[in-house]
């Protein structure tokens, strides 16, 4: 009888936990799939980390871009390169605290060596960094820099 309750408890606990956690792990291949199968044309993908102060500072600009152009085929995706072990302790609390509306993932790759080059050969690995993909034009532009809102809006419009 007791075991039944424990199982039931664990089951509900797992469900409620996965529902509240809107942040999933994502590999680079899954990211490419997400872009390929997505309905939008332009994907603004920002690489950040909870420990990276300039990243944290510019995240509201990405949120604002997504809201401002919500009627356009634009998708803003925030990919945290925090360690996977920090998903529950740092990333999810950060997303909740800042009430982030964009899609947020934590990168799910074993080696930084591999995924940095997969995102862009030009990326040295410093944060923040942003990739803008236009599916219609077939373009991928990579920016290893911080953005003010105006700068971000400008590159979005350039890549549109």
């Amino acid at each position: 009888m007791k075991i039944k309750y424990i199982i039931l408890f664990l089951f509900t606990f797992t469900i409620s936990k996965s529902l509240s956690a809107q942040v999933k792990l994502l590999s680079i291949d899954q990211l490419e799939e997400r872009i390929g199968q997505g309905k939008d044309t332009i994907y603004v993908i920002n690489f950040w980390a909870t420990w990276c102060a300039p990243c944290v500072k510019e995240i509201p600009n990405f949120e604002k871009l997504g809201v401002t152009y919500r009627n356009q085929p634009l998708k803003v995706i925030l990919i945290s390169v925090d360690f996977k072990s920090k998903l529950d302790k740092a990333v999810i609390p950060f997303v909740k605290r800042n009430n982030l509306k964009s899609e947020v993932y934590v990168i799910n790759e074993e080696s930084e060596q591999l995924y940095i080059d997969k995102i862009s050969k030009d990326w040295t690995g410093s944060l923040p960094a942003t990739l803008i993909v236009n599916k219609q034009k077939g373009t991928r532009k990579f920016y290893e820099q911080e953005f003010t809102y105006l700068q971000l809006e400008k590159v979005y419009l350039e890549n549109k």
Binding site: A49, W51, C52, A53, P54, V81, F83, S85, E110, S111, E112, Q113, I116, D117, W123, T124, G125, S126, L127, P128, E144, Q145, E146, T148
Partner: protein
């Protein structure tokens, strides 16, 4: 004839100008000979690579106080010096960050940090940021392994210390920097001469 000569001269000047500009942006490549620098150390003395006549090479490490990734690697930078200074490859740590961006990276705080942690290597302040620019450093921590050759100090390895930033994967850990120096001390070319790693971007002056 004279005009053509002048034109060619101007063209050459322009070309040389552009190439050096491109070089300044991309930094040192593997196999390139580096120029020495003279930077202020936390003990108040100026330090150059020429101050180490007996060194066989150097680990020039761009790092800083504030960056969480630099903090994660601090002990490993100290260990590198402990292990390899005696073998002729001391660590030379350089903080290239603008302290206006992070006061934690100020010269005073560098002194504090190096005393607290008892650094066995110089911790230099690249106040003009010129050394970081010439090297092409973009992030902290960022390692350049230099090897003394007849031509001068040659870049043998650029990149990360290892592939295990969080230090949680002893089985899968690849110690890139150590492997590279072990190879060159055995007169071999390092198998991996360049790696990439996530890090904090260097805080350049006049950037907000």
């Amino acid at each position: 004839m004279k005009i053509i000569g002048i034109k060619i001269k101007i063209l050459t000047i322009l070309l040389v100008g552009f190439t050096s500009l491109a070089k300044a942006q991309s930094g040192y490549q593997i196999g390139e000979i580096v120029t020495d620098f003279s930077l202020n150390n936390v003990d108040g003395k100026m330090v150059s690579l020429a101050n180490y006549p007996n060194a066989k090479g150097f680990f020039v490490v761009f790092t800083c106080n504030h960056c969480p990734y630099a903090k994660l690697y601090e002990q490993r930078i100290m260990d590198l010096d402990k292990k390899y200074a005696a073998k002729g490859y001391p660590v030379i740590a350089i903080n290239p960050n603008d302290p206006k961006a992070y006061s934690e990276d100020s010269f005073d705080n560098m002194i504090k940090r190096s005393e607290e942690k008892k650094y066995t290597f110089p911790y230099l302040f690249d106040e003009t940021q010129n050394v970081a620019k010439v090297y092409g450093a973009k992030a902290t921590p960022h390692v350049y392994l230099l090897q003394k050759t007849k031509k001068g100090l040659e870049v043998a390895y650029i990149g990360a210390i290892d592939n295990d930033t969080e230090d949680v994967n002893p089985d899968g850990k690849i110690r890139y920097a150590e492997n590279a120096v072990d190879a060159i001390t055995n007169n071999k070319t390092p198998k991996i001469t360049q790696t990439k790693a996530i890090g904090c971007s260097i805080k350049w002056k006049n950037e907000k």
